[in-house]
């Protein structure tokens, strides 16, 4: 079994809603140092696409984002405690996920910089592939963390 699971501490998480063509979206991109991704289900360690006008932003605070949003209608919500983050990494990581995730994770369909809100086993997750190791980040509600880590460890024992 060549796969590793660990919990990681990510900087602040904020849920952002804004019209991507509004100037505020550009201001926020400047704040983050990277434009808000507009291709569905893509992102980076700074920000993930969650919907056509919704992103999960890492690092910036609710206040900073609210300032960047200015008078533009939108929504900024600190959700730092709303999800815990795991990293699943190693050659067998994909095989672990394929035991409980129905979306296609083959490199032709999913790869570094891709993310998805989907189900892993019976838990809702945000899945984000960070690199080609492959390393995946799994963001999950803390109340599901016990279930999900038990499931992952069980799946890891059968991977490869």
């Amino acid at each position: 079994m060549t796969v590793d699971l660990r919990e990681i501490a990510l900087p602040r998480q904020v849920d952002l809603r804004v019209d991507p063509i509004a100037p505020a979206a550009t201001r926020i991109g400047e704040l983050l140092g990277t434009p808000l991704p507009v291709v569905p289900n893509t992102g980076s360690e700074a920000v993930l696409w969650l919907g056509p006008d919704e992103w999960l932003v890492f690092g910036a605070s609710e206040d900073q984002l609210r300032t960047a949003l200015g008078d533009t209608p939108g929504s900024v919500v600190d959700v730092s405690a709303n999800r815990v983050v795991y990293e699943l990494s190693g050659p067998d990581a994909r095989d672990v996920l394929e035991q409980g995730c129905a979306i296609d994770l083959h490199p032709r369909a999913f790869g570094p910089g891709r993310c998805a809100q989907t189900m892993l086993a019976r838990a809702n997750v945000i899945l984000h592939q960070v690199d080609a190791a492959p390393t995946y980040r799994l963001l999950v509600r803390p109340s599901f963390a016990g279930y999900l880590t038990s499931w992952l460890r069980d799946a890891m024992s059968a991977a490869g």
């Binding site: 405690a81 709303n82 129905a102 369909a109 838990a123 509600r141 279930y147 499931w151 799946a155």
Partner: protein, 902 residues
């Protein structure tokens, strides 16, 4: 008997096994059935209903007779791979489940591919090669341990096959799943496959079905005797397993296919009985060269013998034999094709139901498409593989086919049954159903095979009609004088039986369903909480102290909340952040009461109804800013309420600028309840002035706790007592809970006490006191239904149904005997109602508890026209006694609301 050479078994690896306790030896590569035949064991357990002797009939999943009990019940000897130490018991029809849990590890894989090929015979291997070489992601699934299908039976192209297998294994994007049966074909090319311990969910862009064909039996008198076998099965046992079922063989056929069996067993075959008056001259000549007599235009009328076949009657002749190899023609295995909604049609010339029209992105090739010559199968396979790859965006050359001699397949001449005693002509060997039974069904007026199936049970045993289904269709057609068979039964998954353990996979034990835990869960465990499941959440139900039962614990917890101070973990409540300039307007439209004018810093209890006016959810909403609210929902409805908000905002009012974010787990919530709540708050949050003048009911303050933790403290109450809810970042939840408990003052309480306290006040719990048929008015909550603004559901309150006087209304119940506890769900009737069904019901108990404050039991109930009945008596007739109770107002404690200020 084991032949001295040939076959694909490994004679250097003997395997010992037992059948019914007697030890035998087989070889690696055997199935249990081939090893039995090699050991002279052809006869298996007698038939289920009639007790007639039966033998191994087929060589694969179509076997009707050779059921065995292993650790797993009801396995087919023909599909069980022989392993050393295997202990089989032959089964008469029914197996038994073991009491022991299945210790094997079953799991699941999700797989995606461009091309899924089902079936590893020549057509399937050709398709997989063609598709795989283009670079398309290809999966080839075959139920057998070894690829090759009919090639292994017929000993043909084995070198080509070996090369193909090697190449498929080497193709980087091609995966070969042997020992894996595609058993269910669902929408959008979702195909479920099962290996022994793994369930595959395959989603394919294109599917090539190369599922082969099943040989049909022949129906004649005593056609169930041991020694009567499918011709292709005899050939497979001999060629693939070097297992010879008999020495003196007669072949009875309606088609060309069985000639190969006769030729491969030349020297042991005396006669071919062919129903066709002019079989192909080429085949007849070849038979004669091999010393085999061909009886054209003839059929076997009867098998002779009692325990095993000893001969056959053909016309006036009796021909001795110890095996009769039969072929009643071929049925394309259209099971998966039909499951995928493909349509079949009856092909007169081929005398079979053949694929007509695909519905999904799919090809069906080879014998499954009624193509029976090897050249044709390979050609169709290669073509389909290339076409499938092209359809999914890949390109390549159609591979060159290996050399195969050209075969001309001559049309069959089907025989459905013969003259003779119909009660001894078996249509379904597993169910012991005969032509006589089918005649009874058609005599009773049944025409459709679906009806005959249900009347006779044909095709309802473990093989689901693989051998019997078409036999029945033919018999019905002949009995009804129809020109040709009229339709099949419906093919449903699974194609072959699948164990529940496999379907369950890892979703068992602690992984069966997520158990959701709050940040304070460990404290609850350490402090002896008994938990209750609320949806997927584990919530503390009550905290028994040593020697306490549930009743005592709950009474103590209630007393603490009413007379002192108690705390509850309320973190599971759903929470939704609502932002945008139109947030207030949105809430106005979905809640029954008004929110647009709620002041910042204030809270309001709100009720949500569906468009039909029925109560859907409730909770407290806080106004955090002009354009920002935080709504709470019931624990079980958090996701449903968010969905509800999104639905209205996106689909009905897209012009409203409002956004929703689930923050259920962003916040941990601690309810501090009771007259001494301020004392606790003063310690935990010393900077907050929580005096009556400084902290109004239904307001909240953002503040820092003693240890600096930011908190949002709300003065809300679900118990009627003075109460505060401390909301903190979820990650601080456990720490703040510890700080609250460290004051040494509060008693922890669970959901049961919470339920009792709110019921004493007549506060409903959505989903317990309501069931989707209850309006706010039914609950006596007219006060929360705004007369001034419109909201979702409002129009429904003018419907005649909503204003009926006999609607069920929420009332209180006080049992006449103050120690009697009404069971929740108990039906209520008027006194003097006769208990002869149908008994007119007045309503039912929705909540029922012992009350510490009232020092008696009480209940809430929904009763027809209940508010007009206050003061009257109702009865709850139970199994062993009847409980009388008085109907009351649904509020039992502090009706003036004096306690909420402490």
């Amino acid at each position: 008997m084991r032949l001295p050479e040939g076959g694909r078994i490994d004679r250097t690896k003997p395997l010992r096994f037992t059948v019914d306790g007697i030890e035998h030896t087989g070889c690696a590569g055997d199935t249990l059935a081939s090893a039995m035949i090699a050991n002279g064991l052809l006869t298996v357990a007698p038939s289920t209903y009639l007790g007639r002797p039966r033998g191994i009939f087929a060589a694969g999943v179509d076997e009707p007779n050779a059921l065995v009990q292993l650790d797993d019940p009801m396995q087919l000897a023909t599909t069980v791979e022989l392993v050393d130490g295997l202990a089989a018991t032959t089964l008469r029809g029914k197996g038994r489940l073991t009491d022991e849990p299945d210790a094997a590890r079953y799991d699941k894989r999700n797989a995606h591919c461009d091309v899924l090929v089902v079936g590893g015979g020549p057509a399937g291997v050709a398709a997989a090669l063609a598709a795989g070489r283009t670079g398309a992601r290809t999966i080839l699934a075959d139920e057998q341990r070894e690829l090759g299908g009919s090639l292994l039976t017929e000993n043909r192209l084995l070198d080509w096959l070996a090369d193909a297998v090697e190449e498929l294994d080497a193709l980087p994007e091609t995966r070969v799943l042997t020992g894996t049966t595609a058993f269910g074909y669902y929408d959008q090319n979702f195909v479920a496959c099962a290996s022994k311990t793994r369930l595959w969910h395959v989603r394919a862009k294109h599917v090539v079905l190369a599922t082969g064909a099943h040989e049909r039996p022949l129906v004649f008198v005593d056609n169930d005797l041991p020694g009567i076998m499918l011709a292709s099965a005899v050939r497979q046992y001999v060629n693939r397993y070097a297992a010879l079922p008999g020495e003196n063989i007669v072949v009875a056929t309606t088609n060309d296919g069985a000639y190969g069996t006769a030729f491969d067993l030349a020297g042991r075959v005396s006669t071919i009985v062919d129903s066709r008056s002019e079989p192909p001259a080429e085949l007849v000549n070849r038979a004669r060269e091999l010393g085999i007599e061909v009886l054209a235009g003839s059929t076997v009328r009867q098998a002779l013998g009692t325990q095993r076949i000893g001969g056959v009657r053909v016309g006036d002749r009796e021909i001795a034999c110890d095996v009769l190899a039969v072929s009643g023609g071929w049925n394309p295995a259209v099971h998966l094709f039909s499951q995928s909604q493909g349509k079949t049609r009856y092909d007169e010339r081929k005398a079979a139901f053949v694929p007509d029209k695909s519905v999904q992105a799919q090809h069906i090739v080879g014998a499954a498409n009624a193509v029976y010559d090897l050249t044709g199968c390979l050609d169709e396979g290669f073509s389909a593989g290339i076409e499938a790859a092209k359809m999914t965006g890949f390109d390549g050359e159609k591979p060159a086919a290996p050399y195969t001699a050209r075969e001309v397949i001559t049309d069959p001449h089907p025989v459905w049954f013969v003259d003779g005693p119909e009660g001894r002509q078996f249509v379904d060997l597993q169910r012991d159903v005969t032509v006589a039974d089918v005649r009874r069904a058609t005599g009773a007026g049944m025409r459709s095979v679906e009806h005959v199936k249900r009347y006779t049970t044909i095709g309802t045993a473990h093989d689901q009609g693989k051998t019997s289904g078409f036999a029945a269709i033919g018999v019905i057609a002949q009995l009804l004088g129809a020109e040709s068979p009229q339709g099949t039964t419906t093919y449903r998954p699974p194609y072959t039986p699948v164990s529940f353990a496999l379907l369950a996979g890892r979703d068992r034990g602690e992984l069966h369903d997520p158990v959701r835990k709050t940040p304070m869960h460990d404290w609850h465990v350490r402090n002896g909480a008994v938990f209750e499941n609320v949806g997927q959440w584990k919530r503390p139900w009550y905290y028994p102290q040593p020697g306490e039962d549930m009743k005592a614990a709950v009474l103590r917890e209630c007393r603490a909340a009413r007379t002192d101070v108690a705390v509850m973990d309320a973190s599971t409540l759903g929470k939704i952040d609502i932002q945008g300039p139109d947030a207030g307007e949105f809430l106005n439209r979905v809640y029954t009461n008004a929110f647009a004018k709620l002041k910042v810093g204030h809270c309001r209890y709100g009720l949500l109804c569906k468009a039909d006016g029925m109560v859907f959810d409730d909770g407290v909403v806080m106004r955090v800013a002009e354009d920002r609210f935080l709504a709470t929902t019931t624990t079980g409805n958090a996701a449903a309420v968010l969905d509800w908000f999104e639905e209205w905002a996106q689909t009905e009012w897209p012009d409203l600028e409002v956004w929703f974010t689930s923050v259920t787990e962003q916040w941990a919530t601690i309810a501090v309840v009771g007259p001494q709540a301020r004392v606790v708050l003063a310690i935990v949050a010393p900077d907050v002035d929580c005096s009556q003048d400084a902290f109004d009911f239904m307001t909240f303050k953002d503040a820092f706790l003693a240890d600096g933790t930011p908190a949002r403290i709300a003065r809300v109450s679900f118990s009627g007592e003075l109460a505060f809810e401390i909301n903190v970042d979820g990650r601080a939840g456990a720490r703040v809970w510890d700080a609250v408990m460290a004051t040494g003052l509060p008693t922890p309480y669970g959901t049961e006490t919470m339920h009792v306290l709110r019921a004493e006040k007549g506060y409903v719990i959505v989903g317990q006191d309501t069931d989707g048929t209850v309006t706010p008015q039914d609950l006596g909550m007219e006060w929360i239904v705004s007369p001034r603004k419109d909201f979702v559901g409002k129009r429904s309150y003018q419907r005649p149904d909503a204003t009926r006087p006999d609607r069920k209304q929420l009332v209180g119940l006080l049992p006449t005997d103050p120690d009697e506890l009404l069971p929740e769900g108990a039906q209520l009737i008027a006194p003097d109602t006769p208990l002869t069904p149908p008994v007119p019901m007045l309503g039912h108990v929705t909540s029922s508890y012992h009350s510490a404050a009232l020092e008696r039991t009480f209940a809430l109930a929904l009763v027809k026209g209940g508010r007009q009945l206050i003061g009257r008596t109702v009865l709850a007739p139970l199994r062993d006694r009847t409980i009388a109770a008085t109907i009351t107002e649904p509020i039992f404690y502090d009706p003036e609301g004096a306690r909420r200020d402490g």
